[in-house]
């Protein structure tokens, strides 16, 4: 098809986890013949194994579809997939910037969720046309009318264009495609203007270098063109220009309004930053496109290998992972207890878990992870402001003027019967209530000012368990506030174990210290000597437990029939010992470094 800008539609899909986004995307691909159902592995757009396993989208994907509409004309539809989890909301904003419209998928049985709401507001900020799609209407528990009303009342969207669909059974797919053509405007921009293309994502290919995913806003880009990255000023010759079908397909040129990729033998991901504008080096545009702010890591943790000799492998794995994950931040650090490792920054807890899992699974590493923490701001008595990503690096109390911690605006959506439970939980987590509104008849939207550090300590799991899984959570950064925080150290056999230090609110310090030493006592195995475990603030010990020395460990009987069995027992014990980290004379199991998590579980 010849390029005709009026017949291009660029759109993305906004949905809460499990509301059926991936299934719908698959149906659109199938319906438009981008892939036959036979070619299609279930849910093509979720590429990573991990994504398929967890049923979530982490890494954004894009695909071009061709659709002959009712007017008899063929349209080019570019679908840019978006991740659904709160950790990845910045990736959502990247895809929104490359689109003119969005499908808002809402589960007909569940209704709007906190995160859907956040993403819809983002889309509205980007002036996107939104088509509500009420999915899973064939479920027995579906209540499309109630959901429509919610969309109208809460978001204020016109629901006359809402589509009733079931991606799973293929209901409403054609109607969705028609609405995309009818409602979403074609891209603007002038074909004759100097090239301006937005990089909305990238991935690293070992043969071709960085593959930049772009949306051409103005002008066009072709193979052989010398392009310039406006932010970095670096120039490259384009060797490949193509589209996603969804596999990468060379077509030689991308025009204004189109979505596709370029490859230009870019060896370093840093030279091709997501959010940067690509322009023609020979006739550059004068102003770059409005970029979007780089995602800043919200959560940090230390990553170490159980065996220090594997450090090199960990470094290599981190380098490889960061090629495809611009939001992953890491730098080397050393821990007295754990040796060489990295302090890594993540967008959120899920992001952290995913990276850990990939390191262990794809790179076969045996990792020790320290408990996650937020970034603290410490004002010192000498007037300096320090950003602290590692609790053990907090200066001694005498040198600290005050400490600030990051806050978030948390929105929680839950059936109204659980309001009490949610409020109780938020209160336990040092949160300040700011607002409550009703959504429809049965649900409420609660807004809280909450320290981010409280969210990373199992808040989400607690929220889910106290609301039988019905509550949803979204949060956005809301600046730093001064808090009465102290550093809690853990001493094992008299030595501070730096990797176990945490920052806690002073009112909770005693309680947490107590819980932590008790937990550690149950995790640390008995040794040939006594192992005292202490929690201290500064020099003051606030809690103490002792792992008693083992005095008897012997099998009284061992005859012919016992030998294999006893051997297996000994082997099992030895295997368990191997997985421990030797710190001084004490062997500490890996779980101990995460002991601070899950303390509130009862």
């Amino acid at each position: 098809m010849e390029w005709e800008k009026d017949r291009i539609r660029n759109f993305c899909i906004i949905a809460h986890i499990d509301h059926g986004k991936s299934t719908l995307a698959d149906r659109l691909l199938e319906y438009t013949g981008a892939l036959s159902s036979r070619e299609m592995a279930e849910q093509v757009l979720d590429k990573m194994d991990l994504e398929r396993e967890r049923g979530i989208t982490i890494k954004m994907q894009a695909v071009r579809l061709h659709y002959r509409a009712k007017d008899g004309l063929e349209y080019q539809l570019n679908l840019i997939d978006t991740p659904g989890h709160v950790d990845f909301s910045y990736e959502v904003s990247r895809s929104l910037a490359a689109c003119e419209g969005a499908l808002l998928i809402v589960d007909a049985a569940q209704g709007i969720e906190a995160q859907t709401l956040a993403n819809v507001y983002l889309a509205l900020e980007h002036n996107l046309e939104i088509i509500p799609v009420i999915n899973k209407i064939d479920l027995p528990s579906a209540d499309p009318d109630e959901v429509k009303k919610e969309i109208e009342d809460v978001i204020g969207l016109d629901i006359s264009d809402a589509v009733l669909a079931s991606a799973k059974s293929g209901i409403g797919i054609e109607e969705i495609l028609d609405k995309i053509v009818k409602i979403i405007p074609p891209p603007g921009g002038q074909g004759g203007a100097p090239l301006r293309a937005l990089i909305f994502d990238s991935h690293y290919d070992p043969y071709k270098g960085v593959i930049a995913y772009i949306r051409v806003m103005e002008g066009s880009v072709r193979t052989g063109m010398q392009v310039k990255m406006m932010a970095t000023g670096k120039e490259f010759e384009v060797n490949e220009v193509g589209i996603f079908k969804p596999s990468l397909t060379n077509i030689g040129v991308l025009h204004t309004g189109e979505v596709g990729f370029i490859a230009a033998s870019i060896k370093n991901v840093k030279d091709c930053q997501v959010g940067d504008t690509v322009t023609d080096a020979a006739g550059p545009a004068s102003v770059p496109l409005p970029g979007y702010r780089r995602a800043t890591p919200m959560v940090y943790c230390g990553l170490y290998t159980a065996d220090t000799v594997d450090y090199g492998d960990l470094r290599e794995a981190m380098e490889k992972l960061s090629l495809n994950d611009a939001s992953l931040v890491y730098e080397p650090e050393t821990s007295e207890a754990l040796g060489f490792g990295f302090r890594c920054g993540f967008l959120g807890l899920l992001h952290m878990e995913i990276i850990q899992e990939r390191l262990e699974r794809e790179y076969g590493l045996n990792l020790i992870t320290t408990a996650p923490n937020v970034v603290y701001r410490v004002a010192t008595t000498t007037g300096e402001i320090l950003e602290i990503e590692n609790p053990s690096k907090i200066p001694p109390a005498v040198k600290v003027e005050y400490i600030e911690e990051p806050y978030v605006k948390a929105t929680i959506m839950a059936p109204k019967v659980y309001v009490g439970a949610v409020m109780e939980l938020c209160q336990e987590r040092r949160s300040v209530f700011s607002n409550m509104e009703y959504i429809g008849l049965h649900r409420v939207l609660l807004t809280y000012d909450m320290p981010l550090s409280e969210i990373i300590y199992d808040f989400f799991d607690q929220l889910k368990s106290r609301t039988k899984g019905y509550a949803s959570l979204d949060y956005e950064p809301d600046g730093y506030r001064q808090s009465n925080l102290v550093k809690l150290d853990i001493l094992i056999a008299g030595e501070v174990l730096d990797a176990l230090s945490i920052i806690v609110h002073k009112d909770k310090a005693y309680y947490r210290g107590r819980q932590l030493v008790e937990r550690l006592r149950s995790l640390i195995p008995r040794h040939l000597f006594e192992v005292p475990i202490q929690a201290s603030i500064g020099n003051k010990v606030i809690a103490r437990e002792t792992v008693k020395a083992v005095r008897k460990d012997v099998l009284a009987k061992c005859y012919g029939g016992d030998i294999s069995r006893k051997r297996k027992l000994l082997e099992k014990q030895k295997e368990g010992k191997k997985r421990m980290k030797q710190v001084g004379n004490v062997e500490i199991p890996q779980e101990a470094f995460m002991a601070v998590l899950g303390l509130d579980e009862k």
């Binding site: 005095r551 012997v554 029939g561």
Partner: protein, 378 residues
């Protein structure tokens, strides 16, 4: 190569709540079929094995309760062994006997059949603790069986005891030890009670109905036993075993020296020519296979040399004398000190092992922590 034979007798009058050995309730027809199968099994091996693998230095009837069998059956079985294997001069033939299942004539019949050693499951000389262990006999009956055994002509007796029984005090244990020494057996075994998973006793402990003996108490009991028995002329030659000089249990030494043995009867284990295997644990399965002239063998594992070396270490270290390093070298052509240099050095530094006179052994400190040491060798 000399070999020990173990014969498992899987019958008990009543199963003890701490025991996890295989045993079945006693009934005439099953006993008959068991004995037939056993004879068939012994015969099967006798005709299959090479002559050099048939030189027998010890035979041990264990259970279960072997003395639940009719006394005459020992003669039948031993005759089959004699005709299928070569018994060495002075071959030790032990039968485990439980008080309450023996009488004078029966014991005399055993002795006549060629049994020359009796291992009596006394367990305790305290009726309250015998009750806790679910034993069918009283302390009085136990003492009586020892006398009966002597009368029947047994001059090599072992008495089994258990310490660390729920509710047992240090005083109780010392009393039992005193009475044991008064009986003047040639050999004494003192086992710390092990809670075996799934046994009624372990379950009762898990449910919180019974409190286990505190670890501290058990350690004191063990030390008391070692000191007391040493003082009465019993040398402590294995973690749980004591003997008058020169009257150690030849059969059990086969295991601790990692020598070959053949196990007959359901669930019995064998280790011969580097291969370990065990018999079908169900009596029915065992008998079925033998009725078809098949080996009733379930799990067969060929041990690697590394496995065999590691077992030679952790079994040998059970002996107070320790592992004979020259003997190890003669067996494997390599020095244990080289293969396990790192482990041995570490354990010696921790004071758990010592090396002297060509032997590597547990120290007094290492004895109650034997597993900590053994782990390093697997």
């Amino acid at each position: 190569m000399s070999i020990g034979i173990y014969i498992h007798v899987p019958f008990c009058i009543k199963k003890c709540p701490y025991c996890d050995f295989i045993s079945y309730p006693l009934s005439g027809p099953t006993v008959k079929s068991y004995l037939e199968s056993l004879v068939r099994e012994i015969n099967l091996y006798g005709s299959a094995l090479a002559d050099e693998d048939k030189i027998i230095t010890s035979i041990f009837f264990g259970g279960g309760t072997p003395t639940t069998l009719p006394a005459a059956s020992f003669k039948t079985v031993l005759n089959e062994v004699r005709s299928s294997f070569f018994l060495t001069e002075g071959c030790e033939v032990t039968v485990e006997a439980n008080p309450g299942t023996v009488d004078g004539p029966g014991l005399a019949e055993l002795r006549q059949a060629g049994v020359n050693r009796l291992s009596i499951g006394v367990q305790s000389f305290n009726d309250r603790l015998l009750g806790m262990l679910g034993r069918i006999h009283s302390a009085e009956q136990a003492a009586r069986s020892v006398q009966l055994a002597r009368k029947a002509g047994f001059d090599n007796l072992n008495l089994d005891f258990i310490f660390g029984i729920p509710g047992q005090t240090n005083h109780d244990w010392r009393e039992t030890l005193h009475k044991a020494v008064e009986m003047a057996p040639e050999h004494i075994a003192a086992y710390g009670l092990q809670l075996e998973k799934g046994t009624p006793l372990a379950q009762a402990v898990e449910r919180g109905e019974i409190c286990t003996c505190p670890e501290e108490t058990e350690i004191i009991m063990y030390r008391d036993a070692v000191a007391f028995l040493n003082g009465h002329g019993y040398s402590h030659y294995e973690i749980s075993n004591f003997a008058r000089p020169g009257i150690q249990c030849a059969h059990n030494l086969v295991y601790w020296l990692n020598q070959p043995y053949l196990g007959f009867g359901p669930a019995a284990h064998s280790f011969i020519r580097g291969v370990r295997f065990s018999n079908d644990i169900s009596l029915a399965g065992y008998s079925d296979k033998l009725s078809r002239e098949e080996y009733p063998v379930e799990n067969k594992i060929r041990l690697s040399e590394a496995d065999e070396m590691s077992e030679t270490m952790f079994l040998g270290l059970r002996l107070s004398g320790g592992v004979d390093l020259n003997r190890f070298y003669r067996r494997f052509g390599r020095w244990a000190e080289d293969i396990y240099s790192y482990e041995i050095a570490g354990l010696c530094n921790k004071g758990l092992l010592e090396m002297s006179g060509g032997y590597l052994r547990l120290t007094t400190k290492g004895l109650p922590l034997a597993n900590v040491v053994f782990r390093e060798f697997v």
